[in-house]
């Protein structure tokens, strides 16, 4: 078993005929993923990178048994594309699209809950399980099959760190880039149980950022319910305090959300905290040696 994608994953790419859709269809296929269908309304019957294109997700699912959708559809239409995937019975949607208004994402999230659809993203790199499948846009070159899980709110920083793990001689079980938007379909806390239950993951790397309280909540979960070793890196410890969201933002945050708050929560929860991204691989190796799992 892997966390969310594996060799049974059959990807449909919504927005496959766009530039990004086409590029990443190629890359997902190169990763070994079964990309079975693309959807672009009005382009049904054509092919992109050898993948058949359909006018609707329902048709794509009926014809190909697609079970994961990767959405590249532009922000104004992304909510609708998600509805279409959800109504077609797709249980997992990876929303790569950036700049989706959070009001739309709230609707998508709760609609997904009602329909039993998990969302990764939006504005996210997606999921990759080396040797199995990739649903998203993380560069193929950073991966090597292994037993280190990675969850992250970042994009390129994730690639940097995953690449570092690879260059240190280790490999990854599954990497999930959750996306850094204010509302994400799957947060650290939602993703942690997946890695806890994954027999292929020995250690988890958590990559966070300042802002929001997702890392503090993750720390709480790790402390009480996560038994595997965790190595964490939080970006932004030297960043200036962000422009404040009025008084309301201060009340919502109540002192959390800073790098200091996140780092101390994670340390208190037993995670090993890396000061810089290039320190992560060394710390991962150390923790793995400790637990004898190398």
């Amino acid at each position: 078993m892997t966390v969310l994608v594996d060799t049974n994953t059959r990807v449909v790419v919504q927005g496959i005929t766009g530039h990004q859709g086409t590029v990443h269809t190629n890359q997902m296929k190169a990763f070994g993923t079964h990309v079975v269908a693309g959807v672009t309304p009005g382009k049904g019957g054509s092919k992109v990178e050898g993948v058949p294109v359909f006018d609707s997700v329902t048709e794509a699912v009926a014809a190909t048994g697609a079970n994961v959708s990767v959405i590249f559809v532009p922000a104004p239409f992304a909510k609708d594309a998600f509805f279409e995937a959800a109504d077609a019975g797709i249980p997992l949607a990876v929303v790569v699209t950036e700049h989706i208004p959070f009001h739309d994402m709230l609707t998508m999230y709760y609609y997904g809950r009602l329909r039993g659809v998990r969302i990764i993203g939006p504005n996210c790199p997606g999921i990759a399980a080396p040797g199995k499948a990739k649903a998203g846009i993380i560069p193929n070159v950073v991966f090597r099959p292994g037993r280190v899980g990675v969850i992250s709110r970042s994009g390129t920083l994730t690639y940097e760190i995953v690449n570092g793990i690879k260059e240190s001689g280790l490999g990854q079980s599954t990497c999930i880039g959750l996306g850094g938007d204010p509302v994400v379909g799957t947060s650290f806390v939602d993703a942690l149980p997946l890695f806890e239950q994954d027999p292929d993951t020995d250690l988890l790397v958590l990559v966070g950022e300042i802002g929001g309280t997702a890392e503090e909540e993750a720390a709480d979960y790790i402390r009480h319910r996560f038994t595997k070793p965790v190595v964490a890196y939080i970006a932004g410890r030297s960043a200036p305090p962000g422009k404040r969201m009025g008084h309301a933002g201060a009340i919502i945050a109540r002192g959390r959300g800073t790098a200091a708050s996140k780092l101390s929560a994670l340390k208190d929860a037993g995670a090993t905290v890396a000061d810089f991204p290039y320190d992560v691989p060394t710390l991962v190796a150390e923790r793995l040696r400790e637990v004898g799992n190398r």
Binding site: Y110, T156, L157, E209, G236, H247, A248, I252
Partner: protein, 383 residues
């Protein structure tokens, strides 16, 4: 995000049925004169500088005028006044009213709950975050249920208002919720919501509209009250751009990588002055734009940190080389690039051929960038 000036926020409130004072925005003492002379608003007046920063009361940005002469002098004094990072360009004139109780209402996103959060307090008119939790009512508003009757009742009970005012409060809450949703707001805040002659009036308005919802709200595209000129260019080019206190320019792709880069720079004693996030793009025009923008900020050195995923390293490198040729001589700066990811070797090769330092190790390249800093004096002379 689009932060609306108070007067724009109040116009929006009025459109949604939230009572606001009868106000006029003026941009000169003559206009202010005319407001009083025409009888549009009678003296005494409140004069409020239309800046986005808080603390206007203490900072002399809210004053009163009881005579035409006083009004002229207050308005003249306020217009052009610097206030924090802004300059006062317009002032809002409103009748001075007898303020009774001051309440607080806001709706903003609670990320963890994934629901909008309504915050209410019977202690408005102050720095609301200084209040203790038991002075605040916090209500998560589910987007599918909307603001319910029982939730409105909770606020009303917490405020301890007379029944007639309670009913008005229900209307204000409905309007505030509707505005939050329909305008794709990140924040709608009334502080204070005052009781004036037994009726509720929003005496201030803070509204922030989400940038990403621009496709639904073209009307906000022209409102850019809170941006510096460079930030405005960056916004048009869809480049995330932030000005800081130091001298080193940082260009990276992705917020996380940008922040991590700043962290490493800080670790080695570098002081970032501008940072600029290309996002997930491999559009060479955008890279050039970013570069020209950076040049305008006159950095001591520019450190470029790219991890090519969506962005291909060779594309970035070509854009970079092209951009460098377009930077005017007066704005030239040293450049150190660190490129990883898709086609990284090719990217570094392209840069090195053009005489740009290009490395692959993050720590080493940061140190190289700091070593390459041009003295401030040299740069100033160049400007």
């Amino acid at each position: 995000m689009v932060k609306l000036a108070e007067w724009r926020g109040k116009e929006l409130f009025r459109r949604y049925g939230i009572p606001v004072p009868n106000g006029r925005v003026v941009r000169s003492a003559a206009e202010a004169d005319e407001v009083v002379r025409s009888g549009a608003i009678a003296l005494p007046l409140v004069v409020k500088a239309q800046v986005l920063a808080g603390g206007r009361g203490k900072g002399g940005a809210v004053k009163f005028a009881t005579t035409p002469d006083e009004l002229r002098s207050v308005v003249t004094g306020m217009l052009g006044m610097p206030f924090k990072d802004e300059t006062v360009k317009e002032v809002l004139l409103e009748p001075k009213v007898p303020v009774g109780r001051e309440l607080y209402l806001s709706i903003a996103l609670d990320r963890s709950a994934r629901e909008p959060l309504l915050i209410a307090s019977g202690q408005g008119g102050v720095e609301i975050e200084s209040l203790a939790d038991d002075q605040l009512v916090r209500i998560d508003v589910h987007p599918f249920a909307g603001l319910t009757l029982y939730e409105k009742r909770r606020v009303s009970i917490a405020f301890g208002l007379a029944p007639s005012v309670s009913k008005e409060l229900g209307g204000v809450l409905d309007s505030l919720w509707k505005a939050f949703q329909d305008e794709d707001a990140e924040l709608v805040e009334i502080n204070p919501l005052a009781v004036v002659d037994g009726h509720l009036v929003a005496l201030d308005a803070k509204v922030i509209i989400e940038d990403d919802a621009g496709f639904r709200h073209p009307e906000y595209a022209e409102i850019r009250d809170d941006r510096t000129p460079l930030e405005e260019i960056a916004r048009e080019k869809e480049i995330a751009f932030v000005q800081l206190d130091g001298d080193i320019g940082v260009i990276a792709n992705g917020a996380g990588l940008t922040m991590a880069t700043l962290d490493v720079l800080a670790q080695f004693g570098g002081k970032p002055g501008v940072f600029l996030d290309l996002g997930g793009t491999d559009d060479p025009v955008k890279v050039t734009d970013a570069f020209l923008l950076m040049a305008k900020a006159h950095p001591s050195v520019v450190f470029l940190n790219i991890f090519g995923g969506v962005t291909r390293c060779d594309t970035v490198a070509k854009g970079l080389v092209a951009a460098m040729t377009q930077v005017p001589d007066s704005d030239r700066f040293p450049l150190v690039a660190r490129i990883r990811g898709n086609n990284e070797d090719l990217g570094r090769q392209i840069l090195q051929s053009a005489g740009i330092t290009a490395l692959s190790d993050l720590k080493a390249s940061v140190q190289a960038a700091i070593a390459a800093e041009q003295p401030r004096t040299a740069r100033r002379a160049a400007v």
